[in-house]
Each structure stands twice: as C-alpha cells, then as structure tokens.
Symmetry: C2
Subunit: 231 residues, 2 copies
Amino acid sequence: MTLIPEPARVRLLHLMRIMEKFDQPLSSSRIEELTGWPSHTIRKDVSYLSGEGETGGTHGHFGGNFGYEPHLLVPVIRSALGLDKERKFCVVGLGRLGSAFLNEEISGSLEPELSPGGEFELAAGFDKNVNRVEILKSTVPLYPAYKIGEVVSRFGIEIAILCVPAAEVQASAEKLVAAGIRGILNFAPVPLRLPPEIVVRNVFILDELRELAIHMSPPSRERKEIQGGTL
Amino acid sequence: MTLIPEPARVRLLHLMRIMEKFDQPLSSSRIEELTGWPSHTIRKDVSYLSGEGETGGTHGHFGGNFGYEPHLLVPVIRSALGLDKERKFCVVGLGRLGSAFLNEEISGSLEPELSPGGEFELAAGFDKNVNRVEILKSTVPLYPAYKIGEVVSRFGIEIAILCVPAAEVQASAEKLVAAGIRGILNFAPVPLRLPPEIVVRNVFILDELRELAIHMSPPSRERKEIQGGTL
DNA sequence: CCATGTGAATGCGTTCACAGCC
DNA sequence: GGCTGTGAACGCATTCACATGG
C-alpha cells in the first residue's frame, strides 16, 4: 500500500474527531456537508486505509450498505495515523496561559470521551516559581522547574506544551529535549533551534492573526475555513 | 501576474516575520539555513511578487547585488498579502487563557517593533463576568459582554480571539458576527457554524497534540518542523 | 436509483536548470 | 565564482469517471 499523502492524513485526523461524536453511519456526502471537502476526496482518503485492492467497490469496508460506521472507521484511522498508543504530555510554564491547560474548559478537549482510548495523558506541570507550584490547585501533579529532567524521563513523558516567557523558552526546550521529550507545542513567540528529530509545532498569535487577515482580504475565491481545524 | 499559490503565501508570511528582524540583506541560501526551505523555493516565491517579467535576472528587484533587502522586500510582501492596513481585534472571554492575550509575554509578539506599521491593534476585551472586567488591570479597555455589539461596530473591530467556555462559544460567535466581525480565532474546543464569508481559524489543543503525534510516529522521512511557524 | 472504491487523467506547486548580472 | 530570477519539467495530490454492489 502506498503511503498516505500528508494532506490526506490531516483530513483523516479531523474526520476521526468528527466521527467520534457520531453513532450512526456517515455517508461521504454528509461528511461533505460537515467539512466542505468534496465527497470524492473523502472516499479517496478512506480508500488509502484499506490496503489498495480490487477495482470496483466491494460494498463498505467500513460500513454496511450505507456510509461509514464510526466504530469501524475510527480505530482504523487512529492506528493508521499512529495515534493508537497512549502518550504522556506535560505543561511547562504555569502563568495564565499554561495554567489554562491544566484544568480549564480548554482541556475539555482532553476529556476521555473526546479522546477515547486514553490518547493523551496530562502527566505533569512545571514552573520555575515554586510559589505557583504550591498555590495552584490541580488534579495534575505539579513540580518546580528544576525537576523537569527527572520527572520527564522517569514517567516517559513524550510531549510538552511550552508556555514560558520568551526569554526562557530556548533554555526550557533544551532541558526538555535532554530529558527525552520528542515533541513540543510552543506558545512563546520565539522560534526554537533544536535537533531535527524533535517535532516542533509553534502557535504564534501574531501569525495566527496574520493568517486570518490574509484570508480576509479580497484576493481569494478560496475555501474559508482554514487548516488547523475545519469543523 | 498569476495568483500567488497558497503555500507560497504562507511561506512569504513567515519570511516577512524573519526579515523584519534583520537590517542586512539576506541571501536565499541564508534563508534556507534559517527555515529549512530550499533556496530555489524561496527565490520562486519572491519571484511571484515582481509581476512576472524578463527571462534571466536583472540583479535584485529587492536588493543590490547580494541578497534581499528587508526594507525593500518586507513592504512588498505585506501589501501583496493584504496586510498593509491596520486591523483592530478584541479578546472575548477573559479567563486564564483570554487574559493571557491582554498583557502577557505572549502578546509580546504584538509589540510595535515586531508588528511594524501598526499591523494589529488590540482594541478591546470582553467578559460576561462584570467582576473580572473591573478587577483585571490592563492597558486595553475592557467591557462587559453585553456591550460587544456596540463596541465592535463602533470601533470597527474586524477580528476576535474567542476564549469563552465551550458552552457559550457558538452564541458569542454569532453575536460577534452580527456586530460585523470578519475573522475569528477560536480557542474553544468546538467547531463553529457561521456564514461562509466569516474566516474562522481554530486552535484545538487536542488536534495540535495529535498533529504533533502523527509526525512523531515512525512512518515519516519528512520535514520535522510543521506548518504554523517554522522558525 | 443510491452508495463506496479505485485506476487514470488532470492540475498545480515544486524542483530543475540555465539565463543574466555582479 | 557568487547571486537572483524564471520558464519548463517533474511529481504528487486532487479530481474525474466509471466499476461494483445493495
């Protein structure tokens, strides 16, 4: 089977999230309504999942005679995308932004129902300021920053959400990498210089605003919802 | 001149941010070191900016005999991307997450030096909870949520950063749209259903983690820094 | 008819290779 | 030699069109 094209993988990712909320089968045209992606694109994407096979359709690898069954499709997408193993993550820097990811509505997206199979587990929070660590109440264990190395490697934490001030971000990132972190979601408005095997995803507010803005300008007859999370 | 391809526009966006910090000319190969994009891609992207022209290079539309001059290139990118007019934005929902965007390090990315020409102006903050509005100290004017309609339309605010709880997000979004907002950066883990002319960009933490995770899995000999902000 | 599934054709962004200038 | 600039070739994702089956 051919490798799944990157754009298709991202669509499947979103499709997975959508289907998790449904019980009934979803047809490709219904998915088109929900996402804006043409139905043939969806069918093609799904077809990448079944090791390429017979010309013409045997009806429904992933459903009966109508639509795709969430309980059949979702697990297949999950494993095709390598999301079938639980991963631990931590939050580094517990200011207003970082602490929002500990308890708040936002992490509602991490509730078990929405992330079945225990996809991600928030395993720790860190802050330089020992006061904060003690004052904040949280169901997640919090540690002072100097324990990053120890805790990250002991618990096998793979991912970090980085919310420290810009001035400290490079140093924090390096400490995390040394401790064995493999992926970083960086909210500080500073690019990181790290070994290439570390996966970094930056969320720069200024850039987000700019991407909104360039899509708001006249020169576009293009799709309006933008990558990062169409429906 | 042909329309600039979307991926090229995104690269130019980041290139702009990088060049803003430099005074000296940057060669395409230097940019390759900084971003990881091949130098010919950069040259091609830049070439989209000069209405397509003569075969062979007259040296430097955007520099002398070496590299691209930031003070020449940046304004051209900015106007090509439609970022040359100042836009006002607001923050809706001033919990931990929303309030982080008012003053904190994060909005450091919005300091005038980094966003020259007054690209974005934070014009207001809103919260349902009147207490919060009064207690929070901020250089930005804060209003109770029921004034959204009035304030947004009076000041011509075009963009909103939405940080309200999931349960309220659809209602807030509709209020904003009614008031004339044109773009929304949504942090609540819920997709919005809005008229297609409204540009929506979602930042779903779960999805961000998942995109990190799929790039951390074995099946990839691909680029490691991911869209949203390579350097 | 409706649906899915998939090879083949299309189209578009990337990459190549070379032209032109310092 | 260095560099930028750009048409043309390439390759890959999307789109098409049709096969298959309820």
